[in-house]
């Protein structure tokens, strides 16, 4: 992740490796960026596995409870507070906007705006996480536990892992903010911000999928 940004032989070591100066690589894409994209496509399968698991078990608890095999099923739709989650989803979506604005600002060498945008991105992320923590405690209070049928586990683990990714992203953004404060993040280093942005947007699109298939798509036929 952020390690990636600082370990490219191209960047660290100038002409140390034969990729030459600057960004001149065989593909025209910098090592770091290529690596981040590769990493993200791997992550896509990771989340794909959890989303698939969730979809597979979707609605199964209701049948099991109806057959008396498990004590009770939590109907996700009774549990979810769509308005609330819509709001946090909206915030995460907006953080993607501030993220690109931050990048654009840095590329213009507008460091003040960069810091504003990057900080608000982190703040939005934090708000989202706070929302998730609130949501989890609320669900837990209503009785939904990890062991509640298949829904409890597949819901908490998937959204929890997503939350963990957002958290990592927040740290990453804050480290960029810090570097900018130290004056070490000039526009020539905008790629460090760009790859952080790639990660951040990726986490956002995962949420776009989760939000739709978990929260919005109806559970009853």
């Amino acid at each position: 992740m952020s390690a990636v940004t600082a370990d490219s032989a191209t960047q660290d070591h100038g002409h140390g490796a034969n990729a030459g100066h600057g960004q001149t690589t065989n593909t025209g894409v910098s090592n770091t960026k290529l690596a981040v994209w590769a990493f993200l496509s791997s992550e896509a399968l990771f989340f794909g596995s959890f989303i698939s698991t969730y979809l597979l078990y979707r609605g199964r608890d209701t049948n099991f409870a109806a057959a008396g095999l498990i004590p009770e099923a939590y109907n996700p739709q009774d549990l979810f507070n769509i308005e609330f989650t819509s709001a946090t989803s909206f915030i995460l979506l907006m953080s993607s906007l501030t993220m690109v604005l931050a990048l654009a600002a840095l590329q213009r060498d507008d460091h003040r705006r960069f810091r504003i945008w990057i900080a608000s991105t982190a703040l939005f992320g934090l708000t989202f996480i706070a929302g998730q923590v609130y949501e989890f405690t609320e669900f837990y209070r209503e009785g939904l536990q990890l062991g509640s049928g298949t829904f409890g586990g597949s819901f908490y683990v998937m959204t929890g892992l997503h939350g963990a990714h957002v958290t990592v992203g927040i740290f990453w953004l804050l480290s960029l903010y810090q570097r900018s404060l130290q004056g070490k993040l000039g526009s020539e280093k905008s790629e460090a911000v760009e790859v952080a942005g790639l990660y951040w947007h990726f986490v956002d699109i995962v949420w776009i999928v989760i939000f739709t298939v978990v929260y919005l798509v109806p559970y009853h036929k």
Partner: protein
């Protein structure tokens, strides 16, 4: 020649070489969308999300299959918008686009197959024997 010379990759006769002469197919080279476009995209995203949430209240009034299709369609559009504009895949190097599309299509295919296999077995899926 020395190490610092530009790497100019000769045109290959085979087709799979992603790089054409003068590897300076500069990623950042051509027009990055500017803040204006970003804001417009964000507005579109918000509108779609609003429509999506609105749609979810239609449950029961509309055929649920239609509803599901519409919701998934909306999510797909949002997905593409973020990837294409915010992640610059639209303007960025072709190789990244191929990488991503290949991975995405592949992953969707694989999980569809798993899904069909497990789902096709729903009739064989049976409540526990206990």
């Amino acid at each position: 020649m020395s190490t610092t010379t530009d790497l100019v990759i000769a045109e290959d006769h085979g087709a799979i070489v992603p790089v054409s002469t003068g590897a300076v197919e500069h990623a950042e080279g051509h027009s990055h969308p500017g803040p204006r476009q970003y804001v417009i995209i964000a507005v579109i995203l918000v509108v779609i999300t609003a429509i999506e949430v609105g749609m979810s209240y239609l449950e029961g009034d509309v055929d649920s299959n239609v509803l599901i299709a519409m919701l998934l369609g909306a999510a797909a559009i949002k997905f593409v918008l973020v990837v294409a504009w915010f992640m610059h895949l639209k303007t960025d190097s072709k190789i990244l686009r191929r990488f991503f599309i290949m991975g995405l299509v592949g992953a969707i295919l694989l999980f569809t197959v798993i899904f069909l296999t497990l789902h096709g077995m729903q009739n064989s899926y049976n409540f526990p024997t206990r």
